[in-house]
């Protein structure tokens, strides 16, 4: 059941428990761990449009960095975390980081100031090198371990990103597809937080080794909607 967040009436979240840790999956796509005051976001893909222009000549509307950072600012204001973990692919590539316009660099610097900030390495970027914060391949806190790509052999409590999961719910009359958190007793995969990020259907075979049995989904959006006990599609 979707709950209203006390300090922020416009945002809802859905709760889940992973390896004993009580977590809030926010409608924005961020993960809030209230007991440890940790906010986790994954796959920001900042600078995506710049990279597309550079590599393919496609001139996408260059507003995704502004939009992603605006949403992140809002989540930071709502939760005031002590620690922020970016689960990798924070920048679309290293050149995109170098090309980050100054105002955005300032915004990021202000966000990082006064709290612990962990950049996990992704497959697109090894973690921004010029920004403050700690750069790590993986990170652990209490019962949870954080890495970019899920490890099929990881123990319980793994939080990762990379796959940009999305979930389709058949409702009467139409199907609704949204970026989604996917989880079972062992692991949680976060949706991509970046504005220009596509998604991988929860039925994709890539998820089979990660969720061998049933899994649950929480769809992002104005209301975080929990879909418990999905049958992994093995067709």
């Amino acid at each position: 059941m979707a709950l209203k967040c006390g300090s922020c009436p416009s945002m809802t979240y859905s709760t889940l428990t992973l390896n004993g840790a009580k977590l809030h999956a926010l409608g924005s796509g961020a993960l809030w761990y209230p007991d440890a005051q940790i906010l986790t976001v994954s796959d920001l893909h900042l600078g995506k449009s710049e990279r597309m222009a550079r590599r393919t000549g496609k001139l996408l509307p260059p507003y995704e960095t502004l939009d992603t950072l605006t949403r992140l600012t809002s989540d930071l204001e709502t939760t005031s975390p002590k620690t922020v973990i970016c689960l990798g692919d924070s920048f679309d590539d290293r050149l995109a980081e170098a090309a980050l316009p100054d105002p955005f660099r300032t915004t990021l610097t202000q966000m990082i100031a006064g709290r612990k900030w962990v950049w996990i390495e992704g497959n697109h970027d090894p973690g921004p090198t010029e920004l403050a914060g700690t750069h790590l391949a993986s990170y652990s806190h209490g019962p949870l371990s954080f890495r970019h790509i899920a490890d099929p052999n990881a123990g319980a409590g793994e939080v990762s990103g990379h796959y940009h999961p999305k979930f389709t719910l058949q409702t009467k009359g139409k199907s609704i597809t949204r970026a989604a958190f996917l989880y079972d007793e062992t692991r949680l995969i976060l949706p991509a937080y970046g504005t220009y990020t596509g998604g991988l259907r929860s039925t994709d075979p890539a998820f089979d080794p990660l969720f061998p049995g049933r899994f649950s989904a929480i769809m992002t959006g104005p209301t975080a909607t929990a879909i418990p006990n999905c049958q992994a599609d093995k067709t």
């Binding site: 222009a53 260059p62 507003y63 596509g198 929990a226």
Partner: protein
């Protein structure tokens, strides 16, 4: 008067033919810079178009390309090649004729650019591609004539807009180029002539003698048509009897899905085992070609088809056309009828089969319009600028250009003759920099200006530009194949959204077969053969045409009659009952009924504005109802009415449908609407902002692609005046949104609203309750539906 050379007149007399007057006229005026011929189907149109070329080429002195023939269908190009072979071979003319379409092999295409034939038969897309290469000036040097077939069909869509920009380019390369357009009968030849000619050249219009009036009537059946639905299944026994009584029957349907269902049931009832085929745009090329070949060979007694057989290909001896479902548009009906009896001076025979009770009224109105030669059509307005953006990029791919020269050239296209410099500059800026309020791409501009010439910054992007050319934007579709170790037979394609609803074991209809869904592999739907009585029906993107303004007007005129002796008794009494308990809609007033039904309050608005506009009206009204706290739940739209249901009764509908309120809602609504997003996706693809899905080239669904909806939302939020949003709003006045017709309806009724309160549903609203495409309300309602669906799932999970 140009005299026909002896070689030709001998050939004509050998075959016992004589030149039709319009063919002689065409020869006579063959030196005019532009010429439009209006001729009915079977009027020797093609020969009239080609005769001057054959005569000019007869002495063998011309080298290189002489005549370019452009048609909207690949199949038509192949057909013409076959038909021209006879006179060329019989008279031993030294003329090389080749076609060039998307199906032509790469080697042959390359050879054609180096050594073009005398006559090249092609499509608008292939021509635009040819012009995007730097060797275009050499290839087209010496070109004398361009013949555009079925120009009435091209003038209705963006393919024609693109073609006219290509012709503007050709006329710059070859200033003496002569243009000839061949058209079926249309309501406004002047508009087609303006479209065809190099602006401001004059364009004389020649008329072939119209054939005799068609022999057209409504099919009589013993069974009554149902209240609603589009299948026409009730008429199958009567249609089988007609098939038996004729040589070859074409059975037209308005949508591909309907054609599939109908074919399935026709086949089940086909006890005499007549050879019957199915043909529509979602079937694989193999399948379509097999049906076409069987038809040419005279092996088929009937073909169930859609608009894919609309245009004038000569496929055998059709002697009856059956239209199942209301024709929606009189002009298209007349063109379809022309498919029967492809011979001049013989009346075409056609039967209309209304699929439901309301369509009987529409069919009768259409029959009257055909008899009165009253064709319909909406003026199209200026050429769309997404097509211009694509043309600018294609021009850059061919080589450096000057902005002033390109602007002047574009203005010679009739459909772009009113383009302003500012509008052009916006498009050029979009192509060069993206045209964003935030100048982000100084380093990565796509086009850069050097010494007055615009170049591609990176010449390698030329091939990407070519890959993205064309103005037809498909909905996302997936191929369907038989499951088989070696790939399996391709059957056709289904929409991705339909494929997403399938689970293993589901059965559905495609190409007249029932197949079982086995799974998805490499973005291909794998199926096995399976006999099943109740298959699902695939949804297809085939355009849903809205009933034309004229036909809607005729229906409302019919409603004013005191009685309807032409209508079958059941329909007649139905209309009388409506008049008794409520009223019949009138053209200058807007009828609104409110009544409770099934525990919910209903509101029915009879706008007669066509399906798309009625749907837009539904979206606008429900938005206003939501704002007013009237809790609308959903609505359904047909060609003549919109039915809305909700939790609260609407006591003052006049306020709801007031013009000013609707207009301001429209502007607000544009931003968040799904239909608008589809419109944006299409324009953004044509303009080159997003890449079309190249078949098979799609990544395996990973993070690589994200939906165009995200780009739309981002632009609306950060750059609301961006040129692509301007274009999207322009597009919204027609097509899927069709807001222009909502405006027309508001102007027509001028706030004269008749509100009728009833205690139960009215006779005229009854069919709407059977309509299938019900639309739930977005926004709050979507969250509500998510919560409800999730709650059901949770409970199921707990139990």
């Amino acid at each position: 008067m140009v005299k026909l050379p002896a070689l030709f007149s001998d050939w004509f007399s050998q075959r016992g033919w004589s030149l039709h007057p319009h063919q002689a006229d065409m020869l006579d005026k063959s030196q005019d810079p532009s010429l439009l011929l209006i001729a009915p189907t079977g009027g020797g149109k093609t020969l009239a178009g080609f005769l001057p070329s054959l005569v000019e080429l007869a002495d063998g002195s011309h080298t290189g390309l002489h005549t370019l023939y452009v048609s909207p269908l690949k199949a038509l190009a192949a057909d013409i090649k076959r038909n021209l072979r006879t006179p060329v071979e019989d008279m031993g003319l030294p003329i090389r004729i080749e076609d060039r379409t998307g199906d032509t092999s790469a080697t042959k295409r390359k050879r054609q650019r180096a050594d073009p034939p005398h006559i090249l038969l092609t499509t608008p897309e292939s021509l635009a591609l040819l012009l995007s290469y730097d060797d275009a000036p050499r290839m087209f040097a010496g070109l004398q004539r361009v013949v555009i077939d079925e120009i009435h069909a091209l003038a209705e869509n963006k393919r024609g807009d693109q073609l006219m920009l290509s012709l503007a380019r050709l006329s710059t390369l070859v200033p003496d180029l002569r243009r000839v357009g061949l058209s079926a009968t249309v309501e406004d030849p002047g508009a087609i002539a303006h479209f065809l000619a190099r602006h401001p050249d004059p364009c004389p219009v020649l008329w072939a003698e119209p054939g005799p009036d068609p022999d057209i009537s409504m099919l009589e059946t013993s069974e009554h048509p149902p209240w609603s639905g589009g299948g026409g299944r009730y008429a199958i026994p009567a249609i089988l009897a007609q098939i038996k009584a004729h040589r070859t029957t074409l059975i037209f349907h308005n949508t591909r899905a309907q054609a599939e269902i109908f074919f399935h049931h026709l086949w089940l009832a086909n006890d005499a085992s007549h050879p019957i085929g199915i043909h529509h745009g979602s079937l694989s090329r193999d399948q379509r070609e097999r049906v076409e070949a069987a038809m040419v060979a005279g092996q088929l007694r009937a073909i169930v088809c859609t608009g894919s057989l609309d245009l004038g290909i000569d496929w055998g001896d059709v002697d009856l056309v059956i239209q199942v479902g209301a024709p929606k548009n009189v002009k298209r009906l007349v063109q379809r009828i022309g498919r029967a009896n492809h011979r001049y001076n013989a009346p075409s025979k056609a039967l209309l089969v209304p699929a439901n009770r309301f369509e009987i009224v529409e069919c009768v109105a259409a029959l009257e319009a055909v008899k009165a030669h009253d064709l319909d059509g909406e003026p199209r307005g200026p050429g769309p600028r997404d097509v211009l953006c694509q043309h600018i990029l294609a021009t850059a791919a061919a080589g450096p250009f000057q902005a002033d020269a390109l602007f002047a050239e574009v203005k010679t296209a009739g459909n772009f003759s009113s383009l302003t410099r500012a509008q052009f500059d916006d498009c050029l800026d979009f192509c060069a920099t993206g045209g964003f309020a935030l100048q982000a791409y100084d380093r990565w501009q796509r086009l850069i200006e050097r010494e007055g010439y615009w170049h591609l910054r990176d010449p390698r992007t030329a091939s990407a530009i070519r890959m993205n050319m064309g103005t037809i934007v498909d909905t996302e579709t997936l191929k369907v194949r038989m499951k088989n170790a070696r790939g399996g037979t391709p059957l056709g394609e289904v929409e991705e959204s339909f494929a997403a609803t399938l689970t293993q074991g589901d059965t559905f209809l495609i190409g007249g077969q029932i197949v079982r869904y086995e799974g998805l592999r490499d973005m291909t739907v794998e199926v096995t053969r399976r006999a099943d009585k109740r298959p699902k029906v695939a949804t297809f993107s085939g355009t849903k045409f809205a009933t034309s303004t004229q036909l809607s007007q005729r229906i409302m005129d019919m409603f004013r009659q005191p009685d309807w002796p032409d209508l079958p008794e059941h329909t007649r009494s139905w209309l009388h009952l409506q008049r008794q308990v409520s009223q019949l809609p009138q053209a200058k007033r807007l009828l609104v009924e409110t009544f409770p039904h099934d525990g919910r309050d209903h509101l029915c608005v009879y706008g007669f504005a066509g399906r798309n506009a009625q749907q837009t009206l539904g979206l606008l009204l429900t938005q206003r109802m939501e704002e007013a706290g009237l809790d609308p739940i959903g609505f359904v739209a047909s060609d003549y009415a919109t039915l809305i249901w909700g939790l609260c009764p609407v006591t003052h509908p006049a306020q709801l449908v007031a013009q000013d309120g609707l207009r301001s809602s429209f502007n607000q609504w544009l931003s968040g609407n799904a239909v608008m997003k589809r419109t944006f996706r299409s324009s953004a693809t044509i303009a080159g902002l997003i890449e079309r899905n190249t078949r098979g080239g799609r990544k395996s669904g990973r993070q690589a692609t994200f939906s165009s909806d995200i780009l739309y939302d981002t632009l609306i939020k950060y750059d609301p005046d961006h040129v692509l949003l301007q274009i999207t709003r322009e597009e919204a006045t027609r097509g899927l949104v069709d807001y222009g017709r909502v405006e027309d309806m508001l102007r027509r009724t001028q706030g004269r609203i008749d509100h009728v309160t009833l205690d139960r549903l009215s006779p005229l609203s009854a069919p709407l309750f059977y309509e299938v495409s019900r639309i739930p309300i977005k926004g709050k309602a979507e969250e509500r539906m998510l919560a409800e669906a999730a709650a059901v799932l949770s409970q199921a999970g707990l139990s």
